[in-house]
C-alpha cells in the first residue's frame, strides 16, 4: 500500500492549482479526512507561493513536494534549490495593531504555523531548503 506521494514541479504560480490538487488527491488516498485537507492545501499553497516569489524571485526553479503518512500523522516536505531561508524565524504578525498600522507580510508564514501542528526547516545537502509540515492525528477515515 502506498504511503507516500511525490510531485516534481516547476515553481511557477500557474502550477499552484496542480499543487493543490496533488495535496487533495494524495491526502485522500492516504486516508485523511476531507476536513483537514483545506488546511494542508492552504499551508502548502503559502509555502509554494513564497518559494516562487521570494525563493526563486519569480524566475522559476525546481520544487519537490512529498506527502507521507506516518502513523496517524500527515507529513508534507517541500524541497527547493533556492537560497536558504528559514520561514520559522519570521516573527508572527501583531494582530492587535489597528489594521491600518499592521505591516504587510508575515501573514502567509503565520497561516502555515496555524494551519499545521509543526513546521521544521533545514538546509539540504545541495544548499537548498527543505520545509517539513506536520499535521498530527489528522482525523482518519476508518
Amino acid at each position: 500500500m502506498q504511503t507516500s506521494y511525490l510531485l516534481h514541479i516547476t515553481a511557477e504560480l500557474k502550477n499552484l492549482n496542480q499543487i493543490r490538487n496533488f495535496v487533495e488527491t494524495s491526502a485522500t488516498a492516504l486516508g485523511f479526512e476531507l476536513d483537514v485537507i483545506p488546511n494542508v492545501q492552504l499551508a502548502v499553497d503559502e509555502v509554494a507561493t513564497n518559494v516562487m516569489l521570494h525563493g526563486y524571485r519569480g524566475q522559476g526553479g525546481t520544487l519537490e513536494i512529498e506527502i507521507e503518512r506516518v502513523g496517524g500523522d500527515l507529513i508534507v516536505r517541500l524541497r527547493d534549490e533556492a537560497a536558504p531561508f528559514d520561514p520559522t524565524t519570521v516573527p508572527a504578525p501583531n494582530l492587535t495593531l489597528p489594521l491600518a498600522n499592521r505591516p504587510i507580510g508575515g501573514l502567509g508564514v503565520y497561516l502555515v504555523r496555524r494551519a499545521m501542528d509543526q513546521v521544521y526547516h533545514r538546509v539540504t545537502s545541495t544548499g537548498g531548503n527543505e520545509l517539513t509540515l506536520v499535521k498530527h492525528g489528522a482525523g482518519e477515515k476508518k
Partner: protein
Amino acid sequence: MASEFQITISQQQGRVPVTVFHIEGDVIDVNSYEQLEAQARTAFEAGARNLLLDMTKVKYISSAGLRALHAIFVMLRADTPSESDETMKKGLMDGSFKSPHLKLLNPSPAVLETLRVMGFDMFLEVHRNLKDAIASF
C-alpha cells in the same frame, strides 16, 4: 482544473444600495487576488460604498486573498470621515466594531477558519443569506 476566477456583480437595494460581488472561482489566492481588488476599486470609483462579497463558491482563501480583503476594507473606509481610527480601534478591542461597508456572504467553514485564525472575523460581518446580508447594511 480550477474553475476560472471571475466576479459577477449585482446591485441590490436595502436601506442603502449594496453592490454584491458573486465570486465565481474556488480559490482567492496569489493568482486571483489582484482581480478582486481591481474590480472592487472599479466599483468604488463608480460610486459603490457598500460591498457584499458572496463567498458561496470559494473553497479557500490564502494570505494573498486576505490582503485583498484588507485593502478593500481600507479603501471603503477612506470615504467615511465620521468613522475615526480611534472609534475603530476601541471597537476592535472590545469586539464591537464591524465594518459597515464590507461584509461576507456564506463563507465556507475552511474560509471562515482562515479568517478567524488571522483575526479578520474581528472586523468583518458574516451572513448566511442574501436577504439578511443586504438588510444589514
